[in-house]
Amino acid sequence: MVKDPQARIVDKKNWKSYFSLSLESPRIAAQAQSGQFIMVRVSAHTQPLLRRPFSIHSKSEKTVEIFFQITGLGTELLSQKKPEDSLDILGPLGKGFEAGKNLKGKDIALVGGGRGIAPLYFLSQKLRSYGATARIFYGGKSQEDLPLKEKFEKEGFDLHWSTDDGSSGFKGFVSDLFKTELEKYTPDRIFACGPELMMKKISLIAQEKNIPAEFSLESVMGCGFGACWGCVRRIKRDNREEWVKICEEGPVFSGNDIIWEEGDE
């Protein structure tokens, strides 16, 4: 955990409302694990006031990359940054996916919805380096919401994709696509990130089939490093339910421990 007040933007990519920024920060890159996140100061002024959390999308020796979608003022300001600008960032924060060398030779499903694909790219690289097979299930509202499709394809991943409107790939939710594919094969493990309802559905499928699954959760974050108690989610601990700070103990949790929010199934 370090603060890098001047991480230089060395690369920027843009697909409609999605962006990626590669930030030069050797100290953060050296420590970064897949599933961890950074807190980015999006304005030098007081609007927006707080930093914004972003998963680490990929890393190299000297850089960490974030991938984000514009959803409000903070992400909009961030999208206007240019190569050579610097950003004030904290990281790497939280606990990432439990994906180690023990997954060698395993068949792993990565399920990402919308901007939730962000941490799964880093994870796919990790898994590959450990000799695991990562299959990617990628869903978006429309074909514009699948900006990373080509990147995964080019790197030769087994990629399955869906759009809610059917403009590309399977028509429907990525959870439905995933369910269909599970009629043909059973992964050894599932890692997922995306909208709440999508993750909840994947979690139910995983429990039904007894497949270990981990999910990267979201919450509004005040600080990102455990000081505000703002980011809690309902988590099972020793047979009890607790409000747990996801910035410290997450954002990644085992599906068996997450109490999903009530809502339309």
């Binding site: 370090v2 100061r41 904290l90």
Partner: protein, 303 residues
């Protein structure tokens, strides 16, 4: 060499900058970013006697230059605090203050009674002003009588100095301040957060699960500063000012208006180095103005 130390009478601080309760965790969360020994002090998260869960999320919402929180005072309780946290804080060479909470006067007293047995705490900040716990933000600091009874009971129980933390959600903060002083408070700190709300116009739901929360950050600074000035002009005990302090300049405004020390809250979320940066900015200001002792600046507001 500028002397940044300030003397609260019952407590000498190496500089006037204190991390504010609820925004500074248990202190340890800041270790990766700053040297805690450099601070004037810090106030740990509010402690009830027993562990508490706090409110369901969403607990935070941002508003223009402000933050509304409805955290609801979750915490580990005094026992775990004394076993797991306090021993790790004792190694620091800074002033550690515990923010004391209670559902009623007896609970405030029992927290203090329990913690009195342990070393390493310089004073108690009595949180009689948290707007998040009871319905509609009710708390002792809303009435002079309730303030008097809470402060006097705790003062009787405690072997350590008591700082009464006041609420801004009152018509006359000076009246409450005078009650706390009369009840024996050794110092006052103000302000806690302003009772506030925000609405999602798509769902027409409140943006916080608790509906109301407490507003902090730069948005409240001018009002909090005015209240600090009003109170500092009327009480004899030292006043610790807070509300929206992000920079050395903000801290200086409070000190010139009469605060002997300041607490820095929301700024810690934006930049975990805020407290040490503010200390540096105070030092630079004093050097530039030829001020040898920062204490000589306190309450020097010109007519």
């Amino acid at each position: 060499m500028t002397d940044l130390s300030v003397d609260l009478g019952f407590l000498k601080l190496k500089n006037p900058v204190i991390g504010a309760s609820g925004t500074f965790g248990y202190g340890l969360e800041f270790e990766p970013y700053i040297d805690l020994n450099r601070l004037g002090g810090f106030v740990v998260k509010g402690l009830y006697f027993s562990p508490r869960e706090g409110n369901p999320p969403p607990r935070l919402v941002e508003t223009p230059s402000g933050l509304i929180n409805a955290i609801g005072l979750p915490g580990i309780g005094v026992k775990r605090f004394s076993e797991e946290i306090l021993p790790r804080l004792q190694k620091f060479n800074t002033t550690i203050i515990v923010n004391v909470c209670g559902e009623n006067n007896e609970e405030y007293a029992s927290v203090v009674e329990f913690l009195d047995k342990y070393d390493g705490i310089a004073a108690y900040e009595l949180n009689i002003s948290c707007p998040n716990v009871e319905q509609d933000g009710l708390c002792p600091a809303l009435s002079p009588e309730a303030t008097f009874s809470a402060v006097s009971l705790v003062k009787k129980t405690s072997s350590r100095p008591i700082i009464a933390k006041l609420s801004p959600n009152v018509t006359d903060v000076v009246q409450i301040a005078l009650s706390a002083e009369e009840a024996g408070a050794d110092a006052l700190s103000l302000v806690n957060t302003f009772l506030a709300m925000a609405v999602d116009i798509e769902t027409r739901k409140p943006k916080l699960s608790n509906i109301y929360g407490g507003l902090s950050g730069p948005a409240i600074k001018p009002i909090a500063l005015r209240m600090t000035h009003q109170v500092a002009g009327r009480v004899k005990i030292p006043v610790i000012g807070m509300g929206g302090i992000l920079t050395g300049q903000d801290a200086l405004e409070y000190m010139i208006a009469g605060a002997k020390a300041v607490e820095v809250g929301t700024a810690n979320f934006i930049d975990p180095e805020s407290t040490v940066k503010i200390i540096e900015e105070l030092r630079e200001y004093c050097q530039k103005k030829g001020i040898d002792r920062i204490e000589t600046l306190i309450g020097t507001l010109q007519a």
